[in-house]
């Protein structure tokens, strides 16, 4: 039983780290540019499609992944340049609307280019097996790799934000945007850089999710909602908050799905318990968010000065 709980915790952690990669880009963009970008999910989807195409093309998972990252980043920068740049000064409503329009556009574009059937990313033999992380607990190698990559990225982001000049500007921007501009920093360049970074992270999340969940049109739409939940719980603009909230959401959701049916099953009949547990665990995350917002309206780790 303890082993199963540990395994489910790993499952939750892995989902949480994927969420974190997506949410990190979202929260950075929000923190520094005060921009709600619903199209972030589309960048995730396009990243996954790029990876699928490049993996097929180069016949190598690693090469495909390496090519997909800059492609996703370029697409992000292009989107920022063409459509989003003029939205920074607008209110959130305008941003929500315009990026909602972009979601529709990207979904149809992907269907036009890549077809409606979806694509699969095949894993190299090295990653396709299982490793025994504890005696009697084999775990899929690829999921383990996701956990490792996710933690690595989190560490990298943390160092970037805490220790570099760019990170200092990002933190400063999250607290007081005008002041950073007044200090003579090239705000436009900074915005583009941050947006590119966010897009690359989204593409990374997309290409890592690809082999697990297949590449599909609209794959970003539902994840996006969950990501917003994450960044709102974590506090907008806070990388640390996004990390904590993403892992919290991932673990909570997985644990709910894994153990609620059994818990409810002890006093309900199995089919009712299954149904109720399902509905409850779907709602769990949203209940958590509502709870956090009622108690701490600015999230768990609000950026200072906001």
């Amino acid at each position: 039983m303890t082993l199963l709980i540990f395994e489910q915790f790993l499952n939750g952690l892995q989902i949480g780290l994927l969420l974190f990669l997506l949410a990190a880009g979202l929260t950075l963009v929000f923190g520094i540019m005060d921009m709600v970008n619903l199209a972030h999910g589309s960048l995730y989807m396009m990243g996954a499609y790029f990876a699928a195409v490049f993996v097929q093309w180069t016949d190598s998972f690693v090469l495909g992944a390496i090519l997909a990252l800059p492609a996703g980043m370029l697409l992000g920068v292009a989107t920022e340049y063409v459509a989003l740049r003029s939205l920074y000064a607008r209110d959130h409503l305008d941003q929500v609307l315009a990026t909602f329009g972009l979601i529709l556009f990207f979904n149809e574009l992907a269907r036009l280019i890549f077809g409606a059937g979806g694509m699969a990313i095949e894993l190299p033999a090295l990653l396709a097996g299982q490793i025994e992380i504890l005696p009697g607990l084999p775990y899929p190698t690829y999921r383990f790799a996701i956990i490792a990559a996710g933690l690595l990225c989190a560490g990298f982001l943390f160092l970037l934000v805490q220790k570099t000049r760019l990170g200092m500007l990002i933190r400063a921007g999250a607290s007081n945007r005008e002041m950073v501009g007044a200090l003579g920093v090239d705000i436009k360049l900074l915005f583009t850089l941050v947006f590119g970074l966010g897009s690359a992270l989204a593409a990374l999340a997309g290409l890592m999710a690809g082999p697990i969940s297949t590449v599909q049109i609209g794959m970003g739409d539902n994840v996006l909602i969950l990501c917003f939940v994450v960044i709102v719980i974590g506090g907008l603009g806070s990388i640390r908050g996004a990390f904590v909230a993403a892992v919290l959401v991932g673990v909570l959701e997985t644990m709910g799905r894994a153990f609620l049916p059994n818990i409810l099953g002890s006093f309900l009949n199995p089919s009712e318990a299954g149904t109720l547990a399902q509905a409850l665990s779907s709602m769990l995350v949203y209940i958590l968010m509502a709870g956090v917002l009622v108690l701490r309206p600015a999230g768990l780790f609000p950026a200072p000065g906001r």
């Binding site: 082993l3 199963l4 395994e7 489910q8 499952n11 939750g12 892995q14 989902i15 979904n107 149809e108 269907r111 077809g115 409606a116 059937g117 979806g118 694509m119 699969a120 894993l123 396709a128 097996g129 299982q130 084999p138 899929p140 690829y142 999921r143 999710a209 082999p211 697990i212 969940s213 297949t214 599909q216 049109i217 609209g218 794959m219 539902n222 994840v223 997985t254 799905r257 894994a258 049916p261 199995p270 089919s271 299954g274 149904t275 547990a277 399902q278 509905a279 665990s281 779907s282």
Partner: protein
């Protein structure tokens, strides 16, 4: 923002005029639409076909559309000597949209038959306006239990199956393979519930665990797969149509469970998902009412024709669409094109005198087929692709359990 200036009176007047003009223009499509309706030739069989042509599941809608086109080719685009026209509508996989498109087919296009429908919820939403207007409705896929039982109608026919049937086939298949302990996983919606219940009605062993997953947007099945591993069953039954089938099977194989615990499924592997599932679908047990290799002349003609025309193996969705069109053709031929005689048409459709791709085809009292259910498996074709083949017959001339509840 435009600069502030004062408008001369003349422009204000011209604005008024152009506005009136605009209002007049607004009314014009009504008139034009009316001309359009009046311009139709009287002798024509019109069929409305509703399926999903956009969104993540557009591949299935396209497959069905291809099958309809093939059926029309094979019929020489005529039914009983009368030219046929098919109007396709996209339901976007949304019940409300499906219903509106259906009403459009009935009210504006004034179709003689409505067919199609992949999803139970879209069909259920669209059902009432069709049968209320005494128009014949042929489902080419969805077979919800309501329509097989209390809500059955003289105007509704299913060219496919009732939802439970293939799942009951899986239940029997588990018995035949000697499984004593089974674990069931299905999405948490009505068809998933039907599926789990279908397996349970025939499975004689013990159900050691059951998970209903979040529908339609669960990202990941790792929690369920870990529970399966811990429960150590003899067999796992899953029902995940379309993209979800690809996800579940891939993750199941990645977890290394496929070689230890056999996987049984219905609706989860088809020609579209196989392109993505590939190896992970090998060595699994499938149950379905139709397979591309069923040895009937009509089936060979259909599968060969489909491959030739569209370059793909048809899915079961396509086979049922092909049957739906041929069923309509048999009705039109038997009534000699007298589409107004509803009673005669109903009799002709009930007789189902057409060459089905499923071989001998017979409707039960509730207008759902009494059908064989076959065991199938995936194999690698000579050219490196993947296809389905039929192993044996699991259930013979099987009728769904809801038929006794249908009073008509």
């Amino acid at each position: 923002m435009p600069s502030a200036r004062t408008a001369p009176v003349t422009t204000a007047i011209s604005r008024r005029v152009s506005m009136l003009l605009g209002a007049a223009l607004l009314a014009s499509p009504l008139a034009l639409a009316a001309m359009d309706a009046a311009a139709q030739p009287a002798k024509k069989v019109k069929i409305g076909f509703v399926t999903t042509l956009s969104g993540p599941n557009a591949a299935y809608g396209q497959d069905m559309k291809n099958a309809v086109e093939l059926a029309l080719d094979h019929l020489g685009r005529k039914m009983g000597g009368i030219p046929v026209e098919v109007v396709y509508e996209d339901d976007e996989q949304k019940p409300e949209v499906g219903k509106q498109k259906t009403e459009k087919l009935l009210q504006r296009d004034k179709v003689d038959f409505v067919a199609g429908y992949i999803w139970s919820n879209v069909l259920l939403a669209s059902y009432k306006p069709v049968v209320d207007s005494n128009t014949f409705l042929i489902s080419a896929n969805a077979g919800p239990s309501q329509l097989a039982g209390e809500q059955c109608s003289p105007y509704f026919f299913a060219a496919s199956w009732q939802n439970d049937q293939p799942h009951m086939g899986v239940g029997e298949l588990l018995n035949q393979k000697g499984a004593k302990r089974a674990y069931l996983v299905a999405p948490n919606y009505a068809a998933g519930q039907d599926g789990v219940n279908g397996v349970k009605t025939l499975f004689k062993g013990e159900v050691v665990g059951q998970d209903m997953t979040k529908w339609p947007d669960q990202l990941d099945f790792s929690a369920e797969i870990s529970k399966i591993r811990a429960a150590k069953p003899d067999g796992v039954y899953v029902f995940f149509p379309g993209r979800w089938g690809v996800q579940f099977l891939t993750q199941y194989a990645q977890a290394g469970l496929k070689k230890d615990i056999p996987l049984y499924s219905a609706f989860t592997v088809d020609a579209v998902t196989l392109k993505l599932q590939k190896d992970v679908a090998l060595d699994t047990y499938l149950a379905m009412t139709w397979g591309p290799d069923l040895p009937f002349a009509a089936n060979q003609k259909f599968v060969d024709g489909f491959k030739k025309k569209h370059g793909d193996t048809p899915t079961f969705y396509a086979s049922q669409s092909y049957d739906a069109i041929n069923l309509i053709a048999s009705g039109v031929a038997a009534t000699k094109g007298n589409l107004k005689d509803k009673a005669a048409m109903r009799k002709a459709l009930e007789a189902a005198k057409f060459d089905s791709v499923r071989g001998p085809f017979k409707f039960g009292n509730n207008h759902f087929p009494i059908s064989n259910i076959y065991q199938q498996e995936v194999y690698k074709t000579a050219d490196g692709g993947y296809d389905l083949r039929t192993i044996n017959t699991v259930l013979t001339a099987h009728q769904d359990l809801h038929a006794p509840k249908c009073k008509m």
